[in-house]
């Protein structure tokens, strides 16, 4: 009797478990048309920058959807979708598949080039000694001028606490150059950790609003965001922040925060203009993708999405000098700082 009851309970459990598809409903069909439609619709209802980019998404559907049929292969679907997403010119729009990934190609479409020779050449040519943890490196350009290089804001958060070691080691300098050229971003939280070490007081540095509905203009309320002093010490003497076209996302947030401080000057090239804060999604065919979900403004409600933040002092360089390891941008920054000390 007891055994029968227990068996009955088991059957009841397992049967209802196997019914989860029936109760919750089956997955959307994994067909080329359906994958295209799901992706197009998700962008239509989630992508936050249609108004700013001035892209007519319905027209995109009319143009690209007829190219997808039941016999479309995965490679063909990827090609059609990539072409459609190129309309957005957005570094935060990506597709990841097992056979290849999509990102908007800024080098190909906009001919953007880096103005940095890279840290190893800088270290060899300009730093007598230096220290690094794989994310942050620091050294001295001279007795008076310190140099901090931040390669990414996408590492684990504890790596950014290392900024305190850097600032302690550079405590005798009169000015610092912070180099974030080619820094493609990462986490806002990490960029705030570093920016807080240069904050003189609490300051409003940006506004943002999240997408909160399917309409292109459905946004949650505009939120203010502040940067304030953090860590044991803050560097409030003259500082120069080096930027270029490959400064994106959380690295641009860092620029927005740093530009609020009166002792910081931004020098180099305009930033990439990708501030969309992406969210990750997936399709029934297993492809993953991401797309921006907010609009961000600086403290004066200017939006640099697709434009990039222009430096206070624009400085360009040429490929030939970069190849030799000469860093014209860095040298200009050092000259500028000397004049401020």
């Amino acid at each position: 009797m007891r055994i029968k009851i227990i068996i009955l309970l088991f059957i009841l459990c397992f049967t209802s478990f196997s019914c989860s598809t029936m109760i919750i409903g089956p997955d959307p069909e994994n067909t080329p048309e359906n994958n295209f439609d799901i992706l197009w619709r998700d962008f239509d209802q989630t992508y936050s920058l249609f108004e700013i980019k001035q892209v007519n998404w319905d027209s995109a559907y009319s143009v690209f959807r007829p190219r997808v049929t039941a016999s479309t292969t995965g490679a063909q679907l990827f090609s059609v979708i990539s072409e459609m997403l190129d309309l957005l010119k957005d570094g935060h729009v990506n597709i990841y598949t097992s056979s290849g990934n999509y990102s908007y190609d800024f080098l190909h479409h906009k001919r953007w080039k880096s103005n940095s020779p890279g840290f190893s050449k800088i270290a060899t040519r300009y730093l007598a000694s230096w220290n690094a943890n794989g994310t942050i490196a620091y050294g001295r350009l001279s007795d008076d001028i310190g140099y901090i290089y931040i390669s990414t804001f996408g590492s684990e958060s504890d790596k950014y606490q290392w900024i305190d070691y850097a600032l302690t080691a550079l405590s005798g300098v009169k000015g610092i150059i912070i180099d974030i050229r080619d820094n493609g971003g990462g986490s806002d939280s990490n960029s705030k950790t570093i920016a807080g070490r240069f904050a003189d007081k609490k300051r409003l540095y940006r506004y943002f609003k999240y997408k909160n509905g399917p309409g292109h203009n459905d946004f949650a309320r505009l939120q203010e965001d502040f940067i304030e002093p953090s860590g044991n010490m803050q560097f409030t003497r003259p500082a120069v922040l080096l930027t270029n076209r490959y400064v994106f996302s959380a690295a641009e947030d860092f620029v927005l925060a740093m530009k609020e401080f009166p002792h910081v000057t931004v020098l180099g090239d305009t930033t990439g203009g990708g501030l969309g804060n992406p969210v990750n999604r997936e399709l029934p065919n297993g492809w993953k993708y991401r797309l921006p979900r907010w609009v961000e403004y600086d403290s004066e409600m200017k939006c640099y999405e697709g434009i990039g933040y222009p430096p206070d002092i624009p400085v360009w360089t040429d490929e030939e000098s970069l190849k030799t390891g000469k860093d014209w941008v860095l040298e200009q920054a050092a000259e500028y700082l000397k004049g401020k000390l």
């Binding site: 309970l9 478990f17 997955d27 990462g186 999240y210």
Partner: protein
């Protein structure tokens, strides 16, 4: 080789068998209060359109603790559970989930028959559960720091109908079904969730996150839970209970979420 959790499991089964061998007293007075501890498996299916159009299914380990005080015409008690596990979609994408919950309730007798062999109760429960899910949607070529858990909190005041049938002093069958009257929940917004709010704006506090929740009637957040169990009295002080539970939840806002749980639990109760 056995790991420590397996050893604990076999120790538990052994304890049950030893206790089952003890002679129960002839009078076998029904004790009114109990403390229970249970382990089990919970099979879950979930589709949350805020994150994915795909159905994720998987298994969670379930631990539970409970206290119950019973009288001739009522019972009340408090239960705590913890679950943890992995789910997978058809595409191989994974999701890991943990949850903790607390439920308390009071039920009063509304019907009895056959010299109290059968009793029906009507009552209310209050519950709160905290869920943490991490969708692994970030491809490996990107930084793992992008992968953030999405916390959710659900709290409901429920109506509960329950019944117990004692065919003899050693065996009993019980069943219960409950559904919400009003709920309050904190879950993902259309494109964001609580962890984003705390990370992006460091001024946001846990209190802000709680206040960002919404009150909901059954039309916005509906769930129905049911449990059926068989309890075998092992001795004057212990009983063993096998329980099959079922839970279906549906949330409308900001995008639809459906969740189905089936649990199979083994509980041992200390009676006093």
């Amino acid at each position: 080789m056995f790991n420590s959790s397996r050893i604990r499991f076999f120790f538990f089964i052994g304890l049950c068998l030893i206790t089952a061998g003890r002679t129960t007293s002839k009078a076998q007075e029904l004790k009114h209060n109990s403390l229970t501890a249970g382990i089990g498996l919970q099979f879950t299916g979930i589709r949350d359109l805020v994150y994915s159009p795909l159905l994720y299914t998987g298994t969670e380990a379930l631990l539970s603790l409970g206290y119950r005080r019973s009288g001739d015409s009522f019972y009340h008690g408090i239960d705590f559970f913890f679950s943890s596990g992995y789910y997978e979609a058809e595409t191989g994408s994974q999701l890991n989930a943990q949850s903790v919950g607390l439920e308390f309730g009071y039920s009063h007798i509304i019907f009895s028959a056959s010299e109290n062999q059968l009793k029906l109760f009507l009552g209310g429960t209050g519950d709160i559960s905290f869920l943490m899910r991490t969708y692994q949607l970030v491809p490996s070529i990107r930084s793992s720091t992008e992968e953030k858990p999405s916390p959710e909190i659900y709290s409901s005041a429920n109506i509960k109908l329950s019944g117990i049938f004692h065919p003899d002093p050693k065996n009993s069958f019980s069943g219960q079904i409950w559904f919400p009257v009003i709920s309050y929940y904190v879950r993902s917004e259309y494109t964001t969730h609580a962890a984003d709010r705390i990370e992006v704006s460091r001024d946001a506090t846990f209190g802000d996150v709680i206040r960002a929740g919404r009150a909901a009637g059954p039309e916005d957040y509906f769930h129905i839970g049911a449990a059926f169990s068989y309890e075998r009295r092992l001795s004057d002080y212990f009983s063993l209970k096998t329980e099959c539970s079922f839970f279906f939840g549906h949330v409308n806002e900001p995008l639809k979420k459906d969740m189905l749980n089936n649990g199979l639990n083994l509980k041992i109760a200390y009676l006093f």
